[in-house]
């Protein structure tokens, strides 16, 4: 005969299974903080060493290829750190990092990112360098918003903030790099810290 405690436990298990089978909860807050630091460093190097600061949509810079290399490097570091820290957190939670939920999260994030990535490369090739910052913010925001259904719900707001910053910077191109540093750098650091204290203790 089951006791009341057993039924409460049943309900707890049902809720946990529903959550576990739809949401990937091994994302680490630290990954956000680190991504923010890489982004700030990248923006500073681009501005300081390569004098890269587009003031209009069609913009040329002698160091453009270096700036692109730098941007790709920042992206790889951020993704690498996120994967490593998620793997560590999943391991601690006794979860596999590569499961049906993480695959769904990844697909939903990758499609907007790839679409944006190709568009940005096409526009760069045509000289619309000033759109680099607004469009990376915009498509990253869309990807995060889309992915938020498959991980912590708070990611939705992170996505909306980045979309907003992307749109603002597409109007004020001259502040593009600054808003990029704000979105990818400062917002990530704040968000990562918040998520770390809210969830990483689990």
């Amino acid at each position: 005969m089951k006791e009341e405690q057993d039924y409460i436990q049943d309900i707890a298990e049902i809720r946990s299974m529903m959550e576990r089978s739809t949401k990937f909860l091994s994302l680490s807050g630290w990954a956000g903080v680190m991504a923010g630091i890489y982004a700030l460093a990248g923006a500073w190097i681009a501005y300081h060493f390569y004098s890269f600061n587009p003031n209009k949509i069609v913009y040329t810079s002698p160091d453009l290829s270096r700036v692109i290399f730098l941007a790709v490097l920042v992206l790889i570091l951020a993704i690498g750190t996120a994967v490593f820290l998620s793997w560590k957190k999943a391991h601690k939670r006794g979860e596999k990092i590569w499961n049906a939920t993480s695959r769904r999260l990844l697909i939903n994030m990758t499609i907007p990112l790839l679409a944006g990535g190709f568009l940005i490369f096409i526009l760069l090739a045509k000289g619309f360098v000033g759109l680099l910052a607004p469009l990376t913010l915009l498509f990253y925001g869309l990807a995060v918003y889309n992915a938020s259904n498959f991980t912590y719900g708070e990611m939705k707001f992170l996505g909306l903030i980045q979309i907003g910053l992307g749109l603002i910077s597409s109007y004020f191109i001259v502040y593009g790099l600054l808003l990029w540093a704000l979105g990818f750098g400062v917002v990530h650091i704040f968000y990562g810290t918040y998520m770390h204290f809210k969830y990483d203790g689990e």
Partner: protein, 101 residues
């Protein structure tokens, strides 16, 4: 209305079967491997519980081939959904009635 323990469906007595139904309630369909990962049970154990749910017509089994490998996916039938929802209602009422006593 008097709620009794007898209203709870026998098929949901096992935690594994309850877990399978919970996962299928929020996913359109799941394959065998995904279910095994979520539930953390052995192949044989999972297969037995899935068979029982299939017999009750609570889940639907679809066999197909992906890259020449057999793939079995499971989804909830309308009957399964109804039974699971009723089970949740009864659980809730049992807990509520015991709280108010």
């Amino acid at each position: 209305m008097k709620i009794s323990i007898d209203d709870l469906h026998k098929a949901f007595e096992s935690r594994v079967r309850l877990g399978i139904m919970s996962a299928l309630a929020v996913n359109d369909s799941l394959d065998f491997t995904s279910l095994r990962e979520y539930l953390d049970v052995t192949d044989g154990n999972l297969a037995t519980h899935l068979k029982k749910l299939e017999k009750e017509k609570f889940i639907r089994v679809d066999k197909s081939f992906i890259n020449n490998k057999p793939n079995t996916s499971y989804s909830m039938t309308p009957e399964g959904k109804k039974a699971f929802e009723e089970h949740l209602n009864v659980l809730e009422q049992i807990i509520n009635s015991q709280k108010s006593e």
